[in-house]
């Protein structure tokens, strides 16, 4: 079981959280301009790294707020927790192909 430090509530059991998959996947600015392959890539293609992974979690049974995490998918060690809309701490994680000029 993971012990996850919610940025708002502090450390809580994993059972209070829900994993929302890869972080920093930006919705295309002009979806109508994409061809099928680019749209399919946005909908279906996600990074699946063995190692550091940037992912979103929501504290569903707590403050119900979303946040980002960098977690190692081999050791399960949580390397960083950082707010939605911000970039990961320097040197952590791998941003996906679809990322993200507009993560402010």
């Amino acid at each position: 079981m993971l012990l996850i430090s919610c940025p708002h509530c502090g450390p809580c059991d994993e059972t209070e959280f829900h994993c929302g998959g890869e972080a920093h996947v930006a919705r295309p600015h002009d979806p109508a301009a994409l061809d099928d392959a680019a749209w399919g890539a946005f909908i279906f293609m996600r990074n699946n790294p063995k190692g550091q992974f940037n992912e979103r979690w929501v504290h569903a049974a707590g403050c119900r707020r979303w946040f980002n995490m960098v977690r190692d998918t081999v050791t399960h060690r949580i390397l960083a927790v950082y707010p939605m809309g911000s970039r990961p701490p320097a040197g952590l994680g791998h941003l996906g192909a679809a990322v993200v000029e507009d993560a402010q």
């Binding site: 079981m1 099928d36 392959a37 890539a41 992912e55 998918t73 081999v74 050791t75 192909a97």
Partner: protein, 417 residues
């Protein structure tokens, strides 16, 4: 010449204290070049090599396995075999597989201990009932045996199940596939390995693929921890590590790797002679020939390559199990483990060519790959040998995530993926 297994050889070797059995497959060093290289020595990869040799006459084949044969998901699943899928494409593929299962022990001269003891999928609410009955009709139209049982029928088929109307999720009925059941998971890997080896396939363990050599958009070889191997065709069948390998060839796959956990109880006398699966309370339970109850449920929600998951998943499936089978409440659980499954967005597999000529991928089986082992290998061997998809594999191409022709078995299959 490979020794054939029979009552006579069993008796003869018994007389010499079972000390003179042949090794079942060789452990050759890799040759510098092969016609086909299969990456991944689990059931699907070994089956692919076997059918390449048997059906297509391609015997200059290597199976590269980074660990030991069947040490991944082939050795970690709950051994359930069935074909009662909703959609036409899935039903055709899994039924093809089930038909191969039915002749597999004779075909391989290896007892895979297929036990067609019947698989029940329970319905606990009106939505379940409607979905299940729809699936029964769809199965029958596709030539897959399926029956609908009411609550009394469930109790008759599996007397130890709790059919009281007073529980939180009462059993309102079930679908039953009598041809479904269980098989011996290790024997499947070993049987295919022995059969492939006898036809000339080199099975090379402790040999990890570290990269692909690609020239002009076509595969020309693989790099491994035991040196470079030249080849013009590579089949990647690496389950949870498919994304990692595909990335080495510059290909993105719509896969996410998750832990899937299972557990067994201490062995007890025969008490449960069928397979019970419940989507709603979410557990599946059968009893192995050794007497252990074998249980599993859903994946952990996060991505992982760690072959272990979180304990609350186990707690949840035990709660579900005890709701269905109060008789098991004083059993002790012996061990739990996890395997890494690669899940597609539509919970259907990938059996596909790729943008790299000569590179083929067989993956995305998610939580339901074991039952598909023979069929998967059979159609994937065809796809590799002919360089075009087998008709049953064609709907499972990578293209479907561009065209939108998904095979959405999430929730449509008999148990959640």
């Amino acid at each position: 010449m490979k020794q054939r297994f029979s009552a006579f050889t069993l008796l003869r070797n018994g007389l010499s204290w079972h000390e003179n059995w042949q090794r079942q497959w060789r452990s050759p060093d890799p040759k510098p070049a092969y016609d086909v290289v299969i990456v991944g020595g689990g059931g699907h990869g070994l089956a692919t090599a076997y059918y390449l040799a048997k059906e297509h006459g391609i015997t200059n084949v290597a199976v590269l396995e980074k660990g030991w044969l069947g040490g991944g998901n082939t050795g970690r699943n709950t051994t359930i075999v069935r074909s009662n899928y909703l959609w036409d494409e899935s039903a055709a593929l899994y039924e093809h597989s089930l038909k191969l299962w039915e002749g597999l022990s004779a075909d391989l001269n290896y007892n895979v201990m297929l036990s067609q003891r019947g698989v029940m999928n329970l319905a606990h609410n009106l939505g379940d009932v409607r979905e299940a009955q729809r699936r029964v009709h769809a199965n029958r139209l596709n030539g897959v045996d399926a029956e609908w049982l009411d609550t009394a029928g469930v109790k008759e088929f599996c007397p130890i199940i709790n059919t009281s109307p007073d529980v939180r999720y009462p059993v309102l009925g079930a679908t039953l596939q009598r041809r479904g059941g269980t098989a011996r998971h290790d024997a499947v890997a070993w049987g295919y390995a022995r059969g492939a080896d006898a036809r000339g396939v080199d099975i090379i363990q402790n040999c990890e693929v570290t990269g692909f050599d690609i020239e002009g958009g076509a595969i020309v070889g693989v790099q491994t921890t035991r040196g470079a191997i030249r080849t013009s065709k590579v089949g990647v069948v690496a389950a949870g590590h498919n994304s990692v390998l595909a990335a080495k060839a510059g290909i993105r796959l719509p896969l996410q790797s998750h832990p899937l956990q299972a557990l067994v109880s201490e062995p007890i006398k025969p008490v449960h002679d069928c397979v019970v699966m419940s989507n709603t309370v979410h557990v599946y339970v059968s009893q192995s020939d050794k007497g252990e109850l074998v249980m599993g449920a859903g994946i952990d929600g996060y991505n992982s390559y760690a072959q272990r998951g979180s304990f609350h998943i186990i707690e949840h499936q035990m709660a579900a199990c005890l709701e269905l089978f109060p008789i098991f409440s004083r059993l002790r659980m012996l061990r739990t483990w996890g395997g890494i499954v690669d899940v597609c967005p539509d919970a259907s597999p990938l059996l596909t060519k790729t943008p790299v000529a000569g590179l083929f991928i067989n993956g995305g089986w998610g939580t339901g790959g074991f039952k598909a082992t023979p069929g998967s290998g059979h159609v994937f061997a065809h796809t590799i040998a002919r360089d075009e998809p087998h008709p049953l594999a064609a709907p499972f191409s990578l293209d479907r995530f561009t065209t939108g022709a998904l095979i959405d078995e999430h929730g449509a299959a008999a148990v959640a993926h």
